[in-house]
């Protein structure tokens, strides 16, 4: 039902749009780590924040796609989109008996890979997706709760219990009536390197990144998934607001930075060691610093916006700029302007890139070797977001 043609690609701005929403590509490491940051925090109800954001965003996306595709009222559209975006497989055939089954899950893969194991049910985004999908396509108010998860021992698929509700659990609204677009035009220039950035960005944007028979997207040695940027922005903004209620706002921001720093280390380490890197980017690498430029080029193809290397003359510092980062634009859309920077993901990425390329040893031991700051931000009415990572002496 979905093909690559459903994505409207804008390589100049680094955007990949479907159903009026820009989608962002992150991997299973980052997605599960971000979820853990919210859910393992006992001060707030992180599960609710994630589930609500997923329900609202996928309600809106599927409502738009249902109209664009003139789809009839069946859930094949929702199952097809779930698979296409790389989240796994969803079987709605027992919905009326109160059950939805998922035999494959991007999030379970994330929780099972690396050092964030849990024995619990982890498919919070899927719960929200099911609730939003059923509301968008059938107009029914339901609650979806995962009662068993293949993240658990001796369990081979995820089961979601469906309960009909009299009234909707959340506010379900359509906010994007037109195709999403960033403005202004990106103007920042990148310093010279041996990397042909535009070729890399265009090639990756044109790659057939869509779910396979397991509904997963194995690429660059990680599992990728396309997620509307609105989801990440709602999750992160609401997380910080909730933490602020308990006086932990600064800790919350640093947690989000650290998630991204780990993302850069794990995801980009996987990318550097991948067949895809060897085929496309490795032939351009002449010196170590080119790896930074190559990885930034890859980041430009992930829907994060347009990112440039502003300065990188020493192995001790890196400056990046972004003229349309999804965090800043999301913040302005949802909360308007601010007097402080808001791009925690890109800030963490800036440090993680340096730790990956220039530090030695186990990846987990490299976290914190570089300090990162966001010097200026679009949310402060500056013309770009400006990040600095410098060696922590």
């Amino acid at each position: 039902m979905f093909t690559q043609e459903d994505f409207k690609r804008d390589a100049a701005r680094g955007l990949k749009i479907i159903g009026n929403m820009n989608t962002v590509i992150h991997c299973h490491h980052y997605n599960s780590r971000l979820q853990r940051t919210l859910e393992m925090n006992t001060k707030i109800d992180g599960k609710k924040i994630i589930k609500e954001a997923a329900a609202q965003v996928y309600f809106e996306l599927l409502t738009t796609l249902k109209n664009q595709k003139n789809s009839t009222d069946n859930l094949e559209l929702a199952a097809s989109l779930f698979k296409f975006l790389g989240f796994g497989i969803l079987d709605f055939s027992n919905l009326n008996e109160g059950l939805v089954i998922s035999p494959f899950s991007h999030y379970v893969e994330g929780w099972q890979c690396g050092s964030i194991n849990t024995e619990g049910c982890v498919c919070r985004v899927t719960e929200g997706y099911i609730e939003g999908a059923v509301k968008a396509i059938l107009g029914r108010n339901i609650s979806a709760t995962e009662v068993s998860c293949y993240n658990q021992i001796d369990t081979t698929s995820c089961h979601f219990k469906i309960v009909e509700l009299v009234a909707p659990k959340y506010d379900f609204n359509i906010t994007r009536f037109e195709q999403f677009s960033f403005s202004p035009e990106p103007k920042e220039k990148e310093v010279a390197s041996n990397i042909d950035k535009s070729t890399i960005v265009q090639t990756i944007m044109d790659m057939p990144l869509e779910g396979n028979n397991e509904g997963l997207i194995p690429a660059f040695n990680v599992y990728l998934a396309h997620t509307p940027q609105d989801f990440y922005n709602k999750v992160c903004i609401n997380f910080i607001k909730e933490m602020d209620r308990f006086g932990f706002v600064d800790i919350a921001k640093e947690m989000l930075v650290e998630d991204a720093e780990n993302c850069a280390l794990n995801t980009f380490a996987g990318i550097l060691d991948s067949e895809e890197w060897d085929a496309l980017i490795s032939p351009m690498i002449k010196e170590d610093r080119d790896k930074i430029f190559g990885l930034v080029a890859v980041a430009n193809a992930l829907g994060w916006g347009r990112i440039n290397v502003k300065e990188h003359n020493s192995i001790e510092s890196l400056e990046l700029t972004s003229s349309n980062g999804y965090e800043a634009f999301g913040y302005i859309e949802l909360e308007e302007y601010s007097n402080e920077p808001k791009c925690f993901m890109l800030r963490g990425i800036t440090a993680g890139l340096m730790e990956l390329v220039y530090e030695k040893g186990e990846l987990e031991d490299r976290v914190g070797k570089f300090n990162s700051t966001e010097l200026t931000c679009l949310t402060q009415k500056n013309n770009c977001c400006h990040f600095l990572a410098s060696y922590s002496k």
């Binding site: 490491h29 494959f104 893969e109 099972q112 890979c113 690396g114 090639t203 990756i204 044109d206 790659m207 057939p208 396979n212 028979n213 397991e214 194995p218 040695n221 990680v222 599992y223 794990n266 995801t267 380490a269 996987g270 060691d273 991948s274 067949e275 895809e276 060897d278 085929a279 496309l280 490795s282 032939p283 990846l363």
Partner: protein, 92 residues
């Protein structure tokens, strides 16, 4: 370096994802054996990267490298690994 050998890929798709390395002179033969068993490799994306895929496995190979990466899907079993090792004449 003694070929063939394999190493575990860090930060991988799934645990037990390996990259296999071969002597240059054997690469074409190995790649042919895999295609004879699992079907013709197809180019993935607009750059020199090829893949063989079925319900159980995904094998990716950069055209110029003397290696490939074997990605195991959920139904991959020990017997599948034995078969692949036989095809590529690999033993540990």
């Amino acid at each position: 370096m003694i070929f063939p050998y394999r190493r575990k890929v860090k930060n991988c798709i799934r645990k037990d994802t390996y990259r296999y390395y071969f002597d240059e002179k054997n690469v074409n033969k190995v790649w042919k054996n895999l295609q004879d068993q699992f079907g013709k490799a197809v180019q993935w994306g607009a750059f020199p990267l090829f893949q063989i895929e079925n319900e159980k496995i995904l094998i990716r190979k950069s055209l110029k490298e003397n290696s490939f990466t074997l990605i195991r899907k959920s139904t991959f079993s020990k017997s599948d690994e034995v078969l692949i090792h036989k095809l590529i004449d690999f033993a540990e």
